[in-house]
Symmetry: C2
Subunit: 402 residues, 2 copies
């Protein structure tokens, strides 16, 4: 029956809402859940019993403040059961793979980083590398692999997170890879794959500069250029899971050739490879092979090297301006290794930006650089897996209790 | 007290949620409201009584189907009181001003269009024109002006809707205009001013192609280029109310000069004025003064005229591709007078678009052209005023009942 189905869906949504509230609150009494959600106390009692029976939530008796002690029995609160489940987060970078282990409350247990032999791999080799990082961190921390409940994985490229499907990634030697299937040959638990910049946005939201704001954009610049968008507190992915392709927005009709095969992409002007390419086409004599070399040349007074960085900075400002003109976010967070921003001259970029953003007599979108290593990207991956796994468990509860 | 305040806010949110549900349902019984919202039946009864007392909602007894008739008294349902309030919507275009009158259920009572003498006015003259359109439609329909509850106004330009403040509009002869204050000299009821493309998005969502989708983008091309963004069913405005400035996204570093004063804006390549400007700089002999003339020239085989349109189409495709690359929306709706799109060669634009959008093996964002006149823009303005006025009334109820 249509109506019955609707009521069940509402009940399921109520379970998810209440679990999320308990997690965010740390610990909270049933009556406060009812007040905060407008759900009736009877329904709150029913739903929280289901969550306790499923092992997701536990009762605790908080230390009772003196003044309330005389009022009789102490108020019982509910909290998420930290030791109920463990999940891992993995970030695959160009040269390294990072993993982190967290408990069901999101508390970090351990993290580690391993070098990668190749940056571009077959799906099988990538799945093996990810599995290796996960099994290492588990065994190092005496957690049997079968006790791991979920794994979150962050990859650069075009990822359809709903299907664990990679349209394209610089870490893979081919397009259209069902990386979820490749990983399931090694891992029995649920795996959740997501674009790495989206996971940085998730990490910024939970642990970083995005904690107190509801609309922000994260831009990552490393070998390529990534973007994660948070709107109204939610990661925005687009209709096909392929939004936020900032690096492939076009800044010039029929412009420079990009590694994606198209022309005029922002990335083809500001990515590491783009700068080296331009430098080697204009610098006379010996070729430069790293950005550090080129940077040193520019710092030592080589005008041609300097102008390569200058143009990149100008075009980066133009690209950022388009994000401001379309989104007008509260904040743009430039995340990644700080070194990667130095050569774009952030202060100059912010100044240049003002020439491209539609003029209003109001303060500009804040631009903040935030340096953090792959460890924090892995933390974003773990948080993402925690979210996904919790949702799975809530759906399980809904399926068994109807 | 903090907690008490929180509970009140929740109660207020419950009122808004329940009113919105009643409006969307057309008519709905109290028990079905409780089921659909998870709000307890007792709270539903309390809140709906408040809404009835405030005159926003009324009880009706739907025609009872035969089979249920024997079960005793017919089930009472609730609906929004259509004749409780009347609101007007106004769209200010370049040469005309359109107005529409709707009742509290959103049913259209009347609409009319008047020519404007000037396209750019002082704040006082614009306020007078808007007031004239509103008072005319009221008197023509025998509605005393003092019985009008709210007015929604759509303007081109940068509008901070929360403050009825215009940063910049082609309809005004100066920047930074408190148009809300100017209108309040003429109108006693609440006035809600919004960017006109946002109102088209609102109209598409309520009455047009956006009815069944939750994420879409509306692009309007007339004299200038506008955009409205709907994400997760909500109009997205950005942090300063200045998002969705598609026309001023930059498509060329240090490119063509735009009417906004900056360089390289999309609008400076595809707006009406931009095409005429380019045509007159390359066509030998007599100048063209309208797009229709230029179009005729191109159709009659003039290669220079043709190439002006071709470039505009290419740059439009590049601009649209950036929207797809960033948002990946389900649909982009090109709204406005159909004639304005002919010269951009929509089929060619869609073909060209594929060269600029990041490649995935999934169907492309749908691009749909939707021709409708200023009457529908006015309908969007009326719907916007209805939303805003309802929210005001709900807050009033919350303030009086605590």
């Amino acid at each position: 029956m249509q109506k019955r189905k609707h009521v069940e869906e509402q009940r399921g949504a109520g379970r998810a809402q209440i679990f999320e509230l308990i997690r965010k609150a740390g610990s909270i009494a049933r009556i406060d859940i009812a007040k905060a959600t407008l759900v009736s106390p009877a329904t709150v009692t029913a739903i929280t019993s289901e969550l306790i029976d499923a092992g997701l939530v536990e009762e605790i008796t908080p230390d009772t403040p003196r003044e309330n002690a005389k009022r009789g029995r102490p108020r019982v609160a509910l909290k998420v059961r930290g030791d109920a489940f463990y999940v891992a987060g993995v970030k695959v970078a160009r040269d390294t793979i990072s993993a982190m282990l967290v408990d069901f409350e999101g508390t970090e247990i351990a993290s580690q980083e391993t070098a990668l032999e190749l940056s571009t791999m077959t799906p099988e080799a990538l799945a093996k590398s990810i599995f290796g990082a996960v099994s290492d961190i588990c065994s190092d921390n005496h957690l049997p692999l079968e006790n791991l409940s979920a794994v979150g994985v962050g990859l650069a490229g075009l990822v359809d997170a709903a299907r664990n499907f990679v349209h394209w990634s610089p870490s893979l030697d081919r397009r259209n890879v069902d990386i979820g299937a490749a990983l399931s040959l090694h891992l029995d638990c649920p795996v959740m794959v997501e674009n790495d910049a989206n996971l940085v946005a998730k990490a910024e939201q939970l642990f970083g500069l995005g904690r107190t704001i509801s609309d922000f954009v994260v831009v990552t610049i490393e070998h390529g250029v990534g973007m994660g968008i948070v709107i109204d507190g939610q990661l925005y992915r687009g209709a096909r899971g392929c939004g936020a392709e900032f690096g492939h927005t076009k800044v010039q009709l029929e412009g420079a050739l990009c590694q994606c095969g198209q022309r005029g992409c922002l990335e083809a002007y500001i990515g590491d490879y783009a700068l080296l390419r331009e430098a080697n086409s204009v610098l006379p004599g010996a070729a430069v092979s790293t950005l550090a070399e080129l940077w040193e040349l520019a710092q030592s007074g080589n005008d041609q090297a300097r102008t390569v960085f200058e143009r990149a900075g100008k075009i980066f400002a133009m690209g950022l301006a388009n994000v401001v003109n379309i989104f007008d976010p509260e904040m743009i967070i430039l995340a990644g290794h700080r070194a990667d921003f130095d050569h774009l001259n952030l202060d100059g970029v912010i100044e240049e930006l003002a020439n491209h953003v539609v003029e209003v007599d109001a303060p500009m979108t804040k631009i903040q650089a935030h340096q953090w290593g792959d460890r924090m990207w892995a933390k974003g991956a773990a948080a993402y897996a925690l979210d996904g796994f919790s949702a799975l468990k809530i759906r399980e509860v809904s399926a068994t209790t109807g």
